[in-house]
Amino acid sequence: MTAKRKVHYSVVQFRRQPNADGAGAVNLGFIIGFETKQCAAVGLAVRASLDEKMLAELDPLSREVLENRLDVLVAEVDAALNGHHKPKDVLRALAAQNPWTLCVTPPQEAEVSVAADFDNASVQKVAEDYVLRLYSRNVLEAQHTGPAVAAPAPRRVVPTHGLGSEIPALPAPWMIPPVVRMLPRAA
């Protein structure tokens, strides 16, 4: 038994050129927004490693931003949570606040098939599952044209939550589990 769920996602990019279509950009990860029966949440998954040669060629500020990308992005997500009750609104706020070199793209929507008992899992596990499924759809690679990481050998992440057996293979340099923030329900 499977069910359909909607998830919103924005891609986080390091744009080396000031072109809005992201050509030549390095994709750093993505931010997802989703709802379960219990709550609404936003999750952030970033690449765990970047090309050292690329980093060495950057100006000091760019290098520092990229080396601390998780801290920077978590802080941005936390700031965007303020006053929003819907995950898509958080993603829109993030895109509005981050249109420059460290860029969050406007949110897109995807529909994914999940196991019937999906909603009984923890929010963290649901987020992890969405990240893996979106990754398997190449949402990053479709927009990615620059080398971001040394090509890793794909490995299989062993699902621990029993959400289904078709969890896709995940390249090694990905940071999993994602950072997840839950949203307050509207009054």
């Binding site: 100006d59 500020l61 760019s62 520092e64 829109r92 895109a95 606040q97 249109p99 070199t101 406007p106």
Partner: protein, 302 residues
Amino acid sequence: MAARRCGLRRSALISLLQRFTAQFNVRRGMTVLRQFDPDIETLAGTWRGELCTSAKWLPEGAPGGLGGICAGYLVKNGTTLGYAKPSAPHDRKLGQAYVNNPIAAHEKIAADLAHDLGLPVPPAVLWDRGQQKGKGSQHCVISAVPFWPAYTWAQVMRLPKAGARLLPLIARAASAISVFDTWLDNRDRVNAGNLVIRESDGFGVQVAYIDFAQSMSFGWGNGPAPGVIRVEGRFPGSAPLDADAIRDTVCAIETMLEDQIRSIVGRVPGAFLAPQRGWCIVEGLLRRRECLRGEMNKRARL
């Protein structure tokens, strides 16, 4: 014919005054505040003279796709990338102050004033993008992307090392812009996304203060504008105070000729700025600069 001659003499006089102001600013060392790339400065000179762009700008991504109150979006003309802002916000729930706010005119006036004062505000040009289906104003402003790579202060302030390294280097710009913000009554400098910064080998540190949508008549309505009752703090607030920069900027504002200010505001077409609002802005700027020194003096010895 006589009116035309009079107009030509007037524009020649204003051009002369602009050059004088620029030289005055150079002598006072104010150009170090504004360190945009040469091609952007060339564009700034063109846009200072050009009120409305006639170039063909193509949207990069969906209009309004970047969200925000103004539903801005990136546009491109050849290799020039700009950030376009429609003049009226798309969200009608925001209230009258936002809906009636002439955003495009505010941005253009602020950019032109900053250009003549040598302050780090990106150049801007008005853009009539034609009638829009559904929501969205046809009257926009395009602000040039001033440099690349560019990071918001919101991103940089998460980095303890970078923050400590850069704060002293942007003290002069932060102090100068606090005067400009106070003069224009800019009420949105609290947003850490409105300061953009770059660190490079060639230029050192470059900064650009953006977003003057909520300045001038946003709070003044149709006027009359109040005197200076609130001094805008430096942004970021932790940047050291540079009294020289404050004094120099006050001097530069005080020495701008009245005709120069009237021309910058008065030439904005009625479609972008209603005449009553235009009057309110001109009178407000002239009135507020008279008490600017006294109010700023409370912050730093001038």
